[in-house]
Structure formats: C-alpha cells, structure tokens
C-alpha cells in the first residue's frame, strides 16, 4: 500500500507563546518545536498499515525549515520517504490544502493520513480540504481504522456513541487520539534519516481568501491561593468557594 502522511511542526505544548510585534503571528524566539501530536498518531497508523500490507510511507509537510525538521522527525520514526512542499508562508488554510493536494496528485497514494488538527492554530481544516481537492472520500477524527483490499472501515467517536464509515481507497483519514499508541523514534532511525533525501517541490501560490487581523493573549488569570493543607483546611476552602468564588 502506498501511504502518505501529512505532518506539521508545532510549538511544544509546554512552550510559553509570545505574540510577534506585528500582532499577526507568534514570535519565533526560543520556542521548542515538536511534531504535532495528532500527526504522531497519523505517522504511527501509516507505519502499522504498511507493516500489515507492505508498501511504503511518504511523509509530506508544507513550509520552510520547520517543515524539513518535521519531515526529519517522521523519517526518524520510520517513514520511508519525505516531500517538502516549499513555501515561505502567506497561504491561508485553503491555499495550504491546495498546495498539498497539488503535490500529492498523481503519485498514486492509496491512503492519505493526517492529524485531525494541528495544536497550534487548531483549524482542523486542511485534511478535509485536501481530500476535496483530490476528489477522494475522507473520514475525520478517526479512532479505529481497518483496511481490507481496497475498502476501509473507519470508526469515529461522536457525542454519546460511535459512527462507523466505509469508503473505497484512495481515501483520506484524519487521526484522533486513541487511534494507536505512537512508537518512539530510535537512534538507528535518527541516523538513517540523515541519509535520506527530502524531495522538494514548490508550493502552488494562491491568493489568501482570509487573513489574520490580530492576535491577543487570553485574559490573565489571577494567581491561585493555598488556604492550608489537609483536612483542617477544608472548612475555609468551602467558605471561600461559597462566599468569594460563589461557585457552591
């Protein structure tokens, strides 16, 4: 099976985010970037499907140096090939999806996997839009995936239950937590990833239909207060919750 996985590098969830002077993007600075956690599930699923059915896994990322780093990380986990869709930014979600779809089209992928969303901007839009551009079926937020022949069965959790879809390949799936338990990279994988060449293709340029006007910080939360320790502190805690916080 010929599998593609879309990946993105995002700020570490522990990182303290600062807004850039132009107030339209976050300041690069000293943030540690990691592979988007939902993309880790997608990479793992790609590797598992390959281990079951044979074939290969190609990871694809759009962007500059950060995209190359995301690809290097995915190669270290075990992906076979990598494609960087080179872009210097300036694309909106639709433009990113179009550029990715243009890079994917014609390569004969049977299955395309992506994280359900990137944890930086939380748009959750690109996966579905790529599927639309490629005119293939897609199932989002998937927690279980089975593939038999050229048919897939995908389970997604919905409010109060689960939904099960069937689709013909090729198809696109976006991964939700619970789909699998991602493996760690290995030292050998890291060293082997160095020897692999990342294929570079230019991103299709398109005019953004939406733009970010401004970024602001969430309201500052007042610092917490420790009223005491152990059982003795409970009456005072209850009193404050009732009288001050008014939540009881």
């Amino acid at each position: 099976m010929n599998i593609a996985v879309l990946v993105k590098l995002v700020p570490d969830t522990e990182a303290t985010i600062k807004i850039d002077a132009d107030r339209r993007k976050i300041a690069a600075g000293e943030i540690n970037f990691v592979l988007n956690p939902y993309d880790e599930f997608a990479v793992e699923e790609g590797l598992r499907q390959k281990e079951k059915a044979g074939g290969q896994v190609t990871v694809i990322s759009l962007g500059g140096d950060e995209a190359a780093k995301a690809l290097r990380n995915a190669l270290a986990i075990g992906a076979d090939e990598a494609i960087q869709v080179k872009s210097n930014g300036g694309l909106d979600m639709l433009g990113i999806a179009k550029a990715l779809a243009d890079a994917i089209r014609g390569r004969g992928f049977d299955l395309i996997l992506a994280g359900k969303q990137a944890v930086d901007d939380d748009c959750g839009a690109v996966g579905a839009m790529v599927a639309e551009f490629l005119d293939i079926p897609h199932v989002s937020i998937v927690t279980k995936l089975d593939i038999e022949g050229d048919k897939l069965t995908a389970t997604r959790e919905i409010e109060g239950g689960v939904e099960v879809f069937e689709a013909n390949l090729p198809a696109l799936i976006t991964a939700q937590k619970g789909l699998n338990e991602p493996r760690y990279a290995s030292l050998k994988g890291i060293m082997a990833s160095k020897k692999k060449v990342i294929e570079e293709v230019a991103a299709t340029i398109s005019t953004p239909k939406v733009e970010v006007i401004t970024l602001t910080y969430p309201p500052q939360r007042p610092p917490g207060r420790i009223v005491g320790q152990g059982v003795d502190a409970v009456p005072e805690l209850v009193r404050l919750l009732r009288e001050e916080a008014k939540v009881l």
């Binding site: 522990e14 290097r72 760690y184 990279a185 030292l187």
Partner: protein, 390 residues
C-alpha cells in the same frame, strides 16, 4: 505530554550540537519524561529496578550506540552518547548505570578486546537486550587497588578454571554474562563468563539506601570451568579493565550533570511557587544564591563535558581528563542535589520529589568507578609526575 522539565542551557550550548545530536537528546529526554519520571520514585521506594525499561531502552537503541551498525550500534558521536547518559541520569542513576554497564563495560570490552567470533556472538544480542551483561573488577578487599586482585584463572586443558569473588556489581544477579577480570599467570585478563555455569553464582546485595532502583550484586566463582573461547585475547594487564572504566566514567561525567539539571529544575520551580512570609521563597537572597551556585556549576560542567566529548571523538582524550570531569561532575552534582533538597524543605525528603533520590544515588556515583580521592590522586600524579598512592 511532558513533565514540564526545562533543561538549563544558560550558555546556549544547544547551538553547538548537530541536528542529530539534538534529535538523540530530545528522544531520550522525551522517553525519560514519559516513562521514567512518573514511576521512578515508587520504584526507588520499593527498591526495585523497573525491568520493562530494559527492552524499551533496547528499542530506542541505547546500548552500544557508538559501535558500528554491523554489531547492533548506530555509529553515534561521542557527544551524542554523552547526551544520552545525561538524559538517562536526569531520570535516575540506576537507569543510567544499567545502560552504562551494558554499553561501556560489557559491549566495549568485547568489541575492543574480543575476537570477531565473540563480537558476532554477543554484541548484537547485547544491543537488543536479548542478553544482559555485567562487569566484574572490584573485589571485597580490592577496590581502589584493583591490581592486587586475588580472583585467579588457571589453565585447565584447553580452557580455564576461575576462582574468586567480585563485589558491588551492577546488574550482576540479572545478567546473562559477566565480563570478569582475573589473574592468569600473574597478568590481569578478561573472561566472558556465562550465567548457568557450574560454580558461578550472583547473589543480590540488599539493605541499600542508594541506587535503590538498580540491581547490585556479588559474583562468586567456585572453580568455574571456562572454555578456551571465554578469554578476551586482546586485553593483557590492568590497562584492559581501566580502559573500560574510562569509557564508563566518560558517561558518568555527563550523567551526573543530568541529575544536577533535574535537581536545579525542581528547586527553581519549587522556589518560585513556595510562599513563605507572603512571597515566593525564590525572592529571598539566600535562596537565589543557592540557585545561582547551582546554575553556575551546571553550566561549567556542561561546557567541560562538551569539550571532553570533542576530544574523545578526536581520539585525544586522556584518562586523566576523564578523571577530572568525573570527579568534578560527581562533586558538583552531589552539592547541587543537597542544595535542592534544602530548598525543597521537608518535602525534599520524600519520593514525591526527585532531589533526595538523586542525592543518595550520587553518594554511590562519587564512589564507584574511582572514588573522588582516587581521581584526585590520578590527576595529581599527572600534574606532578609523582604517584601519591604507591
């Protein structure tokens, strides 16, 4: 997704690392965050080595990573190896010790002093943790003075007979094979002794208040019959085992700073949160002084280790240089662990926090693989040309 650990990198040493060195470091850091930190306090409290780590570390490729790929290694740089040890000991000295012994004290001597058959037979299985190894040099009566050892090998037909005992052996009880140093015709030689041989036993050392999440043992050889191919042919004399210790001490120099970094991080975040006299204790000058001392010593040691790694990579590292780094790392890490424990107040004596555990572990590390005093004398001898211990 991680434990909130923020590694101190005051002089931006990260910029000096290669991309793959950073990737290796981040991989081990993530593994320690996710797998080690959540359970290690309980493991230490119960005095149990977490055995499931053995296989996990093999899957990451942490055993013998600097060896060539044909022997199961990954051909890593010496700095990358050091960073692995730093990150493992950030978790716990016992975890780092396990990997140190397997890599530096078992795989290294087989690679360096073994025959091609011995390399093929053991190294890939040691890399995959199908086999666990240990290293026997220290004896009940010969620690700093290993040259006076009394464990003896005698010729017996085409093979050998081994008699004697070794002590303070990490992994001994759980090991499938031991690299044992014994005198043959008055010369120190290395032997690979496999578990299950008649007369070979490895009882566990109990009642430890340090290295609690690590197996420590005695090795007893009661007329153990060894075949001819048990001998590591290329090691003759004390430089053989001492070269292994140089490998392991290099890892310890890095590892101790990992422990110190864990303690500093814990002390810093605690000091910023803990309120006394209506303000965080981090606002008090005496506490800031401790934090600055810790950060200064960690930064100095990080730079020292980085340079030592460059020299090792270039084949220019002397064993005295390693003595200097090991001696400094242990001494400073122990001081830092004590300072952190102090900042943590009473909370610092529980396994809820890491610093107390690191503190008692480091009491072993400052003693094993050459005590602080012996390293002082080794460097003293190098500087003056006079061996004070003879």
């Amino acid at each position: 997704m991680d434990s909130g650990y923020k590694a101190l990198d005051y002089l931006k040493l990260d910029e000096l690392l290669t991309e793959d060195e950073r990737m290796v470091r981040d991989l081990v850091r993530e593994w320690v965050d996710r797998e080690v930190i959540p359970i290690i306090g309980k493991a230490a409290d119960e005095g149990k080595f977490p055995f499931h780590f053995i296989r996990q570390m093999a899957e990451l490729g942490l055993y013998g990573p600097t060896l060539p790929e044909r022997y199961g290694g990954a051909g890593l740089s010496e700095i990358a190896y050091g960073l692995i040890m730093q990150e493992l000991e950030r978790g716990d000295t016992g975890i780092r010790s396990f990997a140190s012994v397997q890599s530096g004290l078992v795989m290294f001597p087989i690679f360096r002093y073994g025959t091609e058959e011995q390399r093929q037979k053991y190294l890939p299985k040691l890399a995959s943790a199908e086999l666990i190894g240990c290293f026997g040099l220290t004896e009940p009566n010969y620690g700093s003075d290993p040259g006076s050892m009394i464990t003896i090998a005698t010729k017996d037909g085409t093979g050998y007979r081994l008699n004697g005992a070794k002590m303070w052996i990490t992994n001994g009880t759980v090991a499938d094979l031991a690299v044992v140093w014994a005198k043959l015709d008055g010369v120190v030689r290395g032997f690979v002794v496999e578990k299950g041989l008649q007369g070979f036993s490895a009882p566990e050392t109990k009642m430890k208040w340090s290295l609690r999440a690590s197996v420590t043992s005695e090795l007893v050889f009661d007329d153990v019959k060894l075949s001819a191919d048990a001998l590591l042919p290329e090691a003759k004399g004390l430089p053989g085992p001492l070269s292994c210790l140089t490998q392991a001490r290099y890892g310890i120099a890095w590892g101790t700073i990992g422990a110190a970094m864990a303690c500093f991080d814990e002390a810093l975040s605690y000091a910023k949160q803990r309120v006394q006299f209506s303000k965080p204790i981090a606002s008090f000058q005496l506490v800031q002084n401790k934090l600055v001392e810790m950060a200064s010593e960690i930064t100095k040691a990080q730079l020292l280790n980085y340079r030592l790694g460059q020299l090792k990579q270039a084949g220019k590292m002397t064993h005295q240089m390693v003595s200097l780094a090991k001696r400094n790392g242990c001494e400073q890490a122990l001081k830092i662990a004590r300072m952190s424990r102090d900042i943590l107040g009473a909370a610092g004596i529980t396994y809820e926090f890491q610093s107390g555990r690191h503190m008692v572990n480091l009491e072993s590390v400052i003693t094993y693989e050459g005590t602080h005093d012996i390293h002082t004398l080794a460097i003293g001898a190098d500087l003056t040309g006079i061996e004070a211990y003879r």
